[in-house]
């Protein structure tokens, strides 16, 4: 690279720097190629499709410019869909995070048989999502297992999946029980990384358990809280199988969240162009939320490396 080298002397192509760079690129190639083929190219294609009217059966594929985006703004169902998505995400994130943290704190105790409980709470994470949801769909039927149990206690249970409020609650709870174990494990790992001396010092100073939790535990595990909240929110916006199995978006449109609506438009109604437009909307929402959370970390996350 030095300009002072003699112009007559041909420099070897493979300088050390280039060799290092090539090695680096080869190392990341498997991942990079995967991302290009399975993420970036489809993302570009989805944007391209969103500018088209694509009728699969008639095999027509016409450029319509921003027409799908105008349709998006005028879509009478969209406000309802976005509200359903927001309710679902808010319910899921709040319930999932608080339950996961509670479980993690409880399971952080040094008691006999703790491993059994940890395994128990984590096991739904490794169960097939659809199998899990189908079992719940039987339990939640009007004449299903849950109402059967309630009846034994003399309580007449609601028709869980057919009443607007309980349908949304059911979908959220089924999803929380499925995935709470994952966040729990992350929290548990973070809790075990908190130095024990801090608690000892706090006890010496006469600090109560709740204050210890608020002043020591929470700040020290805040990076994990941020991470899990991002994963959980992004995951909650992409919920599909639970809705497809449990409610098919009903009753009415109360559980038609954005991804399910997108699926309906593209794969059931065959409006692939408009479906692509909805995926772009979803992409923008997820990107904005993630960006906002990332910005928030400066204010709420302590002790970040």
């Amino acid at each position: 690279m030095s300009a002072s080298a003699s112009p007559n002397q041909k420099r070897p192509f493979w300088t050390i720097a280039r060799r290092d760079a090539a090695a680096g690129y080869i190392f990341i190639a498997p991942q990079l190629i995967g991302i290009i083929i399975f993420v970036l190219v489809p993302l570009g294609l989805v944007f391209w499709y969103s500018l088209h009217e694509w009728n699969v059966l008639a095999a027509s594929f016409n450029f319509v410019g921003a027409a799908n985006y105008q349709m998006l703004l005028a879509d009478p169902n969209l406000p309802q869909v976005l509200v359903a998505s927001a309710i679902f995400s808010a319910g899921l994130v709040i319930l999932n995070m608080s339950l996961a943290l509670l479980l993690a704190v409880l399971l952080d105790q040094k008691l006999k048989g703790m491993v059994v409980f940890r395994t128990l709470f984590f096991s739904p994470v490794v169960v097939s999502l659809v199998a899990w949801t189908i079992v719940w769909s039987f339990l939640l039927q009007n004449n299903g297992g849950i109402n059967g149990m309630l009846a034994m206690l003399g309580i007449e249970g609601p028709n869980w999946l057919r009443t607007p409020t309980t349908a949304m609650i059911s979908v959220v709870v089924v999803q929380v029980f499925k995935n709470v174990g994952l966040n729990m494990i992350l929290f548990l790992a973070a809790l075990q990384g908190v130095p024990k001396e801090l608690y000892e010092a706090a006890r010496v100073d006469g600090t109560g358990a709740f204050k210890q939790f608020r002043r020591i535990t929470l700040p020290l595990i805040s990076p994990t809280i941020l991470l899990t909240s991002i994963i959980t929110i992004v995951g909650s916006l992409q919920v599909f199988a639970q809705i497809a199995v449990l409610t098919q978006g009903g009753p009415g449109m109360t559980t038609t969240v954005l991804v399910y609506y997108l699926y309906q438009q593209a794969f059931q109604f065959h409006f692939f162009g408009y479906g692509s437009t909805l995926s772009i909307l979803l992409f923008v929402i997820v990107a904005l939320l993630t960006f906002a959370q990332w910005q928030l970390r400066k204010r709420i996350v302590f002790y970040e490396n």
């Binding site: 008639a58 039927q141 028709n159 999946l161 009753p251 009415g252 449109m253 065959h270």
Partner: protein, 422 residues
């Protein structure tokens, strides 16, 4: 370096092109047709394979693969295959989506090819049966199954509850919806289930046509442009159904999944092909009867399935030829073992008795033959999936005890009208 790269690329391209050319030449010799179907029944598959083998006699280079897809997501899977550039050569098509497929130009026209097929006799296929699959005088899919809706009754359950059986009501000339609901209510109030509209599940509302046609009701006008859910006939029909579910307990409510063939239900409305589900062990005393008369008189309803060839397929001509062979007079007889035929020459007690050994001659005459001859096909529409979902969402508020039927139906019409008018 660049030169070398160019050479290598050219050489590679040459090899690939050569292979591709060879591949094409080879493909012309052997043709493999793919047909998507929604039955995974082994007996059905064996029969189809037998027909495909028969086609080999005249077309030794043609083989046919039958690809069963799950029924619930059939059309979605099929259109995804088409969108992905991997369409089958032939496909079964549901009556509800017939308009989408026939009007879109996705299917190859069949009339001329069938007319040219020796011994095909297209005139033998009833016009009523082909109406849904025809556009501008051209047939685009062959209705290989025209299956009437009927009522299966479990006389053991009905009698135990002290309810009148359909046979008793028919004998007395009182086989009406009022009396059918009354019998079902007697069973329902005894703790068992009265009447189940199979596959309805408070989602597939079009299956209720098997009841509301008795009131002369229809979801939209004959030209498909106007919502008719608010017409008095529909309001009355759905009021009767609502009362049967929520007041009289004649039918199970939403969120209760009940299978008639498990033996704990008085009656079910379904297609006659479901006779194969009747239990072989611990059989119950069952009967098969036509749908009861409604306020608008006697009626019957059929569900149809068509099979068509895709116009843009690489092997379109062979596919159409195979379709002509598969549905010719001779093979239609084979198909009739499982799928009620639309050919007049096969609609006789003799043929149908040999293919439906479970049914008595009266059942064949009263249910099958008269059902196929007089039946109206389930409602369908262009863009059916979106219309279906919109109406499903609207009707959800009907399926609660305190629903105001007329108000709900007015909402249904206001949300679906823009879609129908398109």
């Amino acid at each position: 370096m660049t030169k070398h790269l160019l050479k290598t690329t050219a050489a590679t391209a040459g090899i690939i092109l050569g292979l591709a050319a060879a591949g094409t030449a080879w493909a012309q010799d052997a043709v493999n047709l793919r047909m998507t179907i929604w039955s995974a029944n082994e007996a059905h598959l064996a029969m189809f394979n037998e027909i495909a083998e028969g086609f080999k006699a005249t077309h030794p280079n043609v083989s046919v693969t039958f690809e069963p897809l799950p029924f619930d997501s059939y059309t979605t899977t099929l259109t995804t295959q088409i969108a992905g550039g991997n369409p089958p050569d032939l496909a079964w098509i549901l009556e509800t989506t017939a308009a989408d497929f026939v009007n879109s130009g996705a299917l190859a026209p069949l009339t001329d090819a069938f007319a040219a097929t020796e011994g095909y006799d297209l005139a033998d296929v009833s016009e009523k049966a082909t109406a849904l699959w025809t556009k501008d005088g051209q047939l685009y899919a062959y209705p290989f199954s025209t299956s009437p809706f009927a009522i299966f009754a479990n006389n053991d359950v009905l009698k135990a509850a002290g309810a009148k059986t359909p046979a008793e009501l028919i004998a007395a000339g009182e086989w009406t919806w009022d009396n059918a609901f009354a019998s079902a209510a007697t069973v329902g109030q005894s703790g068992k289930t009265g009447l189940v509209v199979r596959d309805f599940k408070f989602q597939t509302w079009q299956n209720l046509a098997s009841i509301w046609n008795g009131w002369g009701a229809a979801p939209w006008s004959a030209d498909g442009k106007t919502c008719t859910f608010t017409d008095p006939a529909m309001v009355n029909a759905l009021t009767a159904i609502h009362k049967a579910i929520f007041t009289d307990k004649a039918m199970p409510g939403p969120g209760e999944d009940i299978d008639f063939f498990a033996g704990e239900t008085g009656m079910t409305i379904t297609q006659i092909s479901r006779a194969s589900l009747l239990p072989k062990e611990n059989p119950f005393d069952w009967d098969l009867v036509p749908l009861p008369a409604g306020p608008a008189g006697e009626y019957s309803v059929v569900g149809q399935a068509g099979v068509g060839a895709f116009a843009k397929g690489a092997n379109k001509d062979v596919a159409v030829e195979f379709l002509g062979y598969m549905t010719n007079a001779e093979n239609s007889k084979k198909l009739a073992q499982f799928f009620p035929p639309a050919r007049a020459s096969l609609l006789n007690a003799e043929t149908l008795a040999s293919t439906n050994p479970l049914l008595s001659p009266e059942q064949i005459e009263n249910v099958v033959i008269s059902g196929i001859a007089n039946g109206t096909v389930l409602p369908g529409h262009t863009n059916f999936a979106q219309i279906q979902q919109t109406i499903r969402a609207g009707l959800d508020s009907l399926w609660v005890p305190e629903a105001d039927v007329a108000a709900v139906l007015a909402n249904v019409c206001s949300s679906v009208s823009p879609l129908l008018a398109r």
